[in-house]
Symmetry: C2
Subunit: 546 residues, 2 copies
């Protein structure tokens, strides 16, 4: 048994869960008219209502004890001041420095990192202004009309999500994202583009990411097929990387490399040069609003007492459901079409950070860690998988996100959208009792066996927890705050679980094995030693490809 699961607080929470599991949220609300005001809070542009969770004051007290026991405040301070809390890689996790608008220095190994950050931001502004204003010209002298960001994982999901969420009213540029090594991704994207007016951004910290480099080389070949002269590559390819040598080898002018640093993890990199396509899409002022929104959440996270701290409350509630209710997932359900890609983004953020099975010091955990994040736009989900949320057997805690105002007002649409969001959180919480269902069926003229047979299918257990996160309107500032909220919430979980949220060793084995298999798929005679399944599949593929 680990010291965590043996700790008095953990045991008290286990005990307390037995009590809570017999209580219905309906009753908790009925007995406390102030539940909403007690269990809701503001941070920057966000309102969080967490009163529809299966908690009481005692739950929060115990969860906050757990945070204190894990020395959460100390860890928060350590992260912001650049301690090397990514212990397995001996690195800091300083993404907060990228959005530090305080004017104060951030010291790392005795040097202030802020001047470097400001220098890159300035270069991003100059470059994105030049491209957006038509001053950056392609090899035939025409301005750029389309930008293709080639990256994968953290070099793709963040920029793709933000630019989808914040489409400019009149986009000066077409923005495209190519990530999949499946040739269809690049091929179908390039089909509509003109090499003379297309700019490629190759985003890879190491500049050795297999998928990205393969796509980049294929894009380069497509470009040169028309442009001919390799010197023209310099006008049409820029790099987001920290590997100057590889970038030059590709043919990109090192002065067109936008730099970031080893203390910027891939899944925390949209705030860095990786955000260049965001700046190109919404302008550098928009990008800086995004940074400012995140900075305000950083301040809130650092300075608010734990019990009024939004990322802390959310992170602890996640622990509550994962470790004490056995929830393996959490749904994110945005009632804003712009947040469709937010789910994929948070999937990476949360699952790559906390999908770990050993503690910082290398002990195998005896408790559940990171959950599976899933979901999609709320109204669409209502007509798809909400059936399971309401009447299925797994407990799925859910985040509902909704804007008070629409970015695209259209008749009654937004009120209908909001009424659905509210109704769903209410329905999940209340459910419908047999008495209520019976009354409705009787009112509909049903009786006898027909009624009795249908009745159980019309009942809803309710007692399904949700968080509601409201904001005025989805803009860059709000989105910045929202992303930072989820970052810190992820960090809070990791502290409770005593895991390193900043490494990702689990991605290595597959990469390693793929190298060998690639040779076997292409070579005249395969030679690897695999299990019967992998061997069988390789044979089948070789046979049917020839």
């Amino acid at each position: 048994m680990s010291s965590l699961t043996q700790s008095p607080t953990w045991l008290a929470l286990t005990q307390h869960q037995h009590t809570i599991s017999t209580q219905h949220l309906r009753d908790l609300f009925a007995s406390d008219p102030d539940r909403f005001s007690r269990f809701s809070l503001h941070a920057g542009p966000l309102l969080l209502d967490y009163s529809k969770n299966r908690i009481t004051d005692e739950t929060l007290t115990l969860l906050l004890d757990l945070a204190a026991q894990a020395r959460l405040p100390e860890w928060i301070a350590r992260m912001f001041k650049g301690d090397k809390i990514n212990v397995t890689e001996h690195r800091a996790a300083l993404h907060s420095a990228l959005r530090n608008s305080s004017g104060k220095p951030v010291m790392l190994n005795g040097t202030d990192v802020m001047p470097d950050i400001r220098r890159v931001l300035l270069r991003m502004r100059e470059f994105s202004d030049a491209v957006r204003q038509g001053r950056w010209l392609g090899y035939t002298g025409r301005p750029i009309t389309d930008v293709v960001n080639i990256g994968i994982g953290g070099s793709d999901l963040g920029p793709a999500m933000v630019t989808a969420a914040l489409p400019a009213d009149c986009h000066p540029l077409g923005l495209h994202f190519v990530s999949n090594v499946d040739g269809a991704d690049l091929t179908y994207t390039l089909r509509l583009l003109d090499p003379e007016t297309t700019l490629f951004i190759v985003a890879s910290k190491t500049f050795t990411t297999q998928e990205t480099l393969l796509n980049a080389h294929s894009a380069r070949a497509w470009f040169l097929q028309q442009a001919g002269n390799p010197d023209h590559v310099a006008r049409h390819f820029v790099a987001l990387s920290s590997n100057c040598e590889e970038v030059s080898r590709f043919g990109i002018d090192p002065s067109h490399m936008f730099e970031f640093w080893d203390w910027v993890g891939g899944r925390y990199s949209l705030w860095s040069a990786i955000g260049l396509s965001i700046a190109l899409g919404i302008g550098m002022d928009g990008f800086e609003s995004l940074l400012l929104g995140a900075f305000e959440m950083d301040e809130h996270f650092q300075n608010s007492p734990l019990e009024r701290n939004m990322p802390v409350i959310l992170g602890l509630l996640d622990v509550w459901y994962i470790n004490f209710f056995g929830a393996q997932t959490r749904a994110i359900l945005p009632y804003d079409q712009g947040l469709n890609q937010f789910i994929s983004y948070i999937q990476q953020l949360n699952m790559e950070s906390n999908g770990k099975h050993v503690t910082r010091s290398g002990q195998t955990v005896d408790y559940a860690t990171g959950a599976i994040i899933w979901g999609s736009s709320g109204t669409n989900g209502q007509h798809a998988y909400y059936q399971l949320l309401h009447q299925g057997t797994p407990l799925v805690p859910a985040d509902f996100l909704a804007p008070i105002e629409s970015r695209a007002p259209l008749g009654n649409h937004h009120l209908v959208l909001l009424s659905n969001f509210l109704a769903q959180t209410e329905a999940l919480m209340r459910g419908k009792t047999a008495t209520e269902a019976r009354r409705e069926l009787e009112q509909a003229g049903m009786k006898g066996d027909a009624l009795e047979q249908l009745l159980p299918h019309k009942c809803f257990e309710g007692n399904r927890p949700s968080n509601s996160i409201l904001f005025q309107k989805l803009d860059a500032h709000t989105l910045g705050a929202l992303i930072a909220l989820y970052e810190h919430r992820t960090f809070v979980q990791s502290i409770i679980w005593d895991i390193n949220a900043f490494d990702q060793w689990g991605v290595e084995l597959g990469k390693q094995l793929a190298q060998g298999i690639l040779t076997e798929l292409s070579d005249a005679t395969p030679h690897g030693a695999h299990d019967a399944s992998t061997t069988g599949l390789i044979r089948h593929l070789r046979f049917h490809r020839s």
Copy 2:
């Protein structure tokens, strides 16, 4: 205790799971060189390798006993011959009739449904040919360039998924899908379109679906703003519905209504008139290939012995992990960019069908039912959430889907894609032992404390199950088979769990409550009686909207 969980087979499976849980797939492979050939099978264009599951012959025997106990063969026969197996709605579940290419009649209430089906298919062919060939003209005499399908849930996900998976090499038409009631969805779609050359398909069985009708009315207003005369609506709007009256009221000529029937569930409707946008996208011949692929899977499902029956094997494996390993989710990981939307489609199919908590006869279940389906394109997932699949704590059974040939061949891309798919299934299965990890670290020159500290982070438990589903190339025929495979797999689960896979009462409560809340959001004085949370949120919204 239910009779299911008390049954000897169930108890034997519980017992057997204890044995299996101590065995590693590595060892199962090591002790059986024939494991691949024994645990793989073909159906139509698909090869299923299920040897990387945590099973032995005994597991399969017991699972097949469970199927026999549930009288699965009888239920399969009942579904195909049109018995009213959707007991709560007194309806048949006859989606298989929509793709019945046998020439044999399908009787329902004493009438053969096939003539009606063929009649609608013929009308779909005439209409889609006319539009695709430029013979169907808009109100100013110009041919149609763009089609907007307005629908939600089953009236959206299927057509959107299929047309995304099978982009025609030279699409004669732009295809757009609007589903979300968020005004942004329709607004941003219409921004690029011309009313003179746009055709709207309004897809709603009842023609009363709130979101769809709101979007349809807003689209109509947009159209009439330019077209002026309401008579022109008939040239630009068609309906997929079974409610002739409501369709006429909207201004759609009833002769432009494509009909389907109450025995076609929404999530099984892409094979019906709901597939009209598919026919418009890939042509009616393509649509009929899709039907044929599904028909072949229907034949396989009806005629293969259970132990060589692909949907049966997959459905039973799902039960194995959900009920005996406590898995709450299943990942779908396609190594084909075209299958990106397949996950959303299967989410609805599986979660709406089997997210149920009472049996057919109304008993509350004491076992888990439907799992959460999630995932995304495989290579992208590798750079995002695969960390959790490899080193996280929840067990996530995964389906890997891969085409032997690419639809968009490009240099080495497809071999890289395939090598990654294979490597991931191998890595999940084998893992990496401490001995292996230690050797690698030593070879990299590490030693002492540094090595010991890093070692546990570099180990992979392995023993993670997966299915591999291979096909030659993603085309309409293959996709039809694949969808039908997942439909029947879902049905198999429902039979084991003794639940009705064809109703969806769980979506009603939210709809009901939304009606009241909509009034409260718009009225001068709100008047509803809600919990403090819902009331608090309504107040907040009202205050900040004014």
